[in-house]
């Protein structure tokens, strides 16, 4: 049996003015899924979230929670928890009272409130902090209070609006893992809004990549990274090399593309109808380029290209190489800082080995 659909967003459209609008956006979130909306600022991801929470009204389209229409309910009757970017903790209330806020509104008994609050505080590892005020907590602790405050109400969906962007780097990674563990443990359907592709890749079951108010692609982190549907997705997720070329040969064995400078590259066979036009962009991820000393022989299904090292950036774990191809194109390669890589220096001649399967053709 397929997992049931928890949230269904259909043709969501929000028009701020004739020039500025978001949508139509459609997606479905499965029960228990961790779903991310990823995109640069102004792509409509926060608007979508605010529409689901009820802080914005849709111009067109619908939102359904378990088949039930959500978009005509006022924000306080929606049963979707939202963790705000700046946490939005109530400064005049203690941690306990912040977490108990929603329970008190539901007029639960004092004993039950105390019970549920202390259980959820335990869950987010804040058991000793109940009597503190938000100003007395660190950023990471405030973040956990904000999560606890939503979790304690057991909402159908938990939504996060860039929750880690106010934390420093190390804490961000730590909170990211905690968040993932918590979500896995509770199995709570979650929607996560972020502009940080690493966060989205690390946390999500599925990601929707947005740009200019539209969804560019929906897929698992691996699908989005390995098979980006557009040049935008390819460039937004991870770093990438883009070459321009045209398809000169299609066959069962593979596709051959020629770049403007006459370079012929073997690619794996394109699935039927995926790229119809001859003019294409060729995506090549920097970590998929193998740098070798000149003189090797190309294996079948491999491309072997001569290049010259233009620059080496030392990053500790990795080395980033800027490589000039014979035709004049410049590629970036990322190699592990191993013994083999230690000798690379600018103006050295090398050969680049690229698997046909690592070249991805995109509609231009």
């Amino acid at each position: 049996m397929p997992p049931s659909i928890e949230l269904e967003v259909r043709a969501l459209t929000k028009r701020y003015s004739p020039q500025v609008s978001v949508g139509p956006i459609s997606f479905e979130v499965q029960e228990g899924e961790f779903f991310s909306l990823l995109g640069p600022s102004g792509c409509g991801k926060t608007t979508t979230l605010r529409c689901i929470a009820g802080f914005e009204t849709l111009t067109e389209g619908s939102i359904r929670l378990h088949g039930e229409r959500l978009d005509d309910k006022p924000p306080h009757r929606r049963d979707v928890g939202l963790v705000f970017q700046n946490y939005a903790l109530f400064p005049h209330l203690t941690v306990f009272d912040n977490v108990a806020f929603g329970l008190r509104l539901r007029r639960l008994g004092k004993a039950e409130i105390g019970d549920r609050v202390s259980r959820v505080l335990q869950l987010v590892d804040l058991a000793g902090m109940a009597t503190r005020f938000p100003a007395q907590l660190s950023g990471g602790q405030q973040q956990r209070v904000a999560i606890a405050r939503s979790l304690v109400l057991e909402p159908r969906i938990l939504m996060f609006d860039e929750p880690l962007s106010n934390l420093d780097f190390k804490l961000r990674i730590q909170m990211r893992e905690e968040l993932r563990n918590l979500q896995r443990r509770l199995g709570k359907t979650s929607i996560y809004v972020t502009h940080d592709q690493t966060e989205a890749l690390a946390l999500s079951d599925r990601i929707a990549v947005l740009s200019h108010g539209r969804i560019e692609q929906i897929g698992t982190p691996a699908e989005i990274y390995e098979h980006p549907a557009s040049a935008f997705v390819a460039e937004f997720i991870g770093s990438s090399n883009m070459l321009r070329g045209r398809i000169v040969e299609r066959s069962e064995a593979g596709t051959i593309v020629a770049t403007a400078t006459g370079l012929r590259l073997h690619c794996r066979p394109e699935p039927e109808g995926e790229v119809e036009t001859a003019e294409v962009s060729i995506l090549l991820r920097p970590e998929r380029i193998l740098v070798e000393a000149p003189g090797g022989r190309a294996m079948p299904g491999q491309n072997r290209v001569s290049a010259r090292i233009a620059d080496v950036t030392y990053l500790g774990e990795d080395l980033h190489l800027s490589l000039d191809l014979v035709g004049g194109e410049r590629l970036r390669a990322s190699v592990k800082n191993s013994n083999a890589a230690r000798g690379w220096a600018p103006s050295q001649s090398v050969e680049l080995v690229v698997d046909a399967a690592d070249l991805r053709l995109l509609r231009r």
Binding site: Q85, G102, F133
Partner: protein, 285 residues
């Protein structure tokens, strides 16, 4: 020579105004305090011997009533200002910058009109044959006698003092992040419950400052009560004016002035202390 950096800069920044206050407030104040301790004389400004009679007199029924009426009208004015001003302050605080500027201008405008002209405006509206009564008559209703009553005084005072209520409340609401409102609603609070549990408690310091300002301004008001009030039910301000300029009883006026100042100061400190404690509980250390 190298003491330049250590010179307390605050002395330069606050010095001019401190001097101003000292010469034009503290010195006259001490002078008034001195008057209030000497007996009244119809022929001289005061007699040389010291006495507390001027203060004892304040416990006479006439003066007790005078103070009672003044403090009560101050309380009513403050309450009306708070009820009218709070929603306005909320809207202004949450308005877009352009609308906020327009709103603030309209709010402040009454203060740019001289008190006397404004009061005459009210007389035209509230008078026996004023606009209000003509409108009532036009609707077939009984005319009302509003002018020269406590109600008229409250209307006049509220008209001037609403901005003093709105501005501090607005400032404190502006400091409350709108995301707190959304968070409360997301947790299940309707707008009204959100307001009662989040906005009201967090803007309390602004409300208290507004009330203190309006209250202290109302109980020392002079022009509006003198022109719009009933001359038999006067307020402390008018009484002081009469004792200075009509009966030339400077010691009497001085004791009334000092008492009014002390009552105001006591209220101010009480309220400030209360907010400080509330504030400390909130921030905590």
């Amino acid at each position: 020579m190298d003491h330049g950096g250590a010179r307390p800069i605050w002395a330069f920044l606050t010095g001019p105004y401190a001097l101003f206050l000292f010469v034009l407030l503290l010195v006259p104040f001490a002078n008034i305090a001195m008057y209030s301790l000497h007996p009244y004389s119809p022929t001289k400004v005061f007699l040389p011997e010291l006495t507390f009679d001027n203060y004892r007199k304040i416990f006479d029924l006439y003066y007790v009533r005078l103070f009672g009426r003044t403090l009560r009208l101050g309380l009513i004015t403050t309450a009306v200002c708070a009820v009218l001003g709070y929603p306005l302050a909320y809207c202004l605080a949450r308005a877009r910058p352009r609308w906020q500027a327009v709103g603030l201008f309209l709010l402040i405008m009454p203060l740019m009109v001289s008190a006397v002209i404004r009061v005459f405006g009210w007389i035209v509206i509230l008078g026996r044959k004023g606009l209000l009564n003509q409108a009532l008559l036009g609707l077939g209703l009984e005319p009302v006698k509003l002018l020269y009553s406590e109600t008229a005084v409250v209307i006049g005072l509220v008209n001037i003092f609403v901005p003093f209520m709105v501005l501090p409340i607005m400032a404190s609401i502006e400091r409350i992040s709108p995301s707190l409102e959304e968070a409360a609603q997301n947790l299940g609070a309707s707008w009204y419950r959100m307001f009662g549990r989040v906005i009201l408690p967090l803007s309390l310091p602004g409300l208290i400052s507004g009330c203190l300002l309006v209250y202290s301004l109302s109980i020392s008001a002079f022009v509006t009560p003198a022109l719009m009030g009933n001359s038999r039910e006067r307020l402390v301000g008018q009484q002081i004016y009469d004792e200075v300029l009509v009966s030339f009883n400077w010691p009497g006026a001085a004791s009334l002035s000092l008492t009014l100042v002390l009552v105001t100061a006591a209220l101010m400190f009480g309220a400030l202390f209360a907010t400080r404690r509330a504030g400390r509980r909130e921030k905590a250390s």
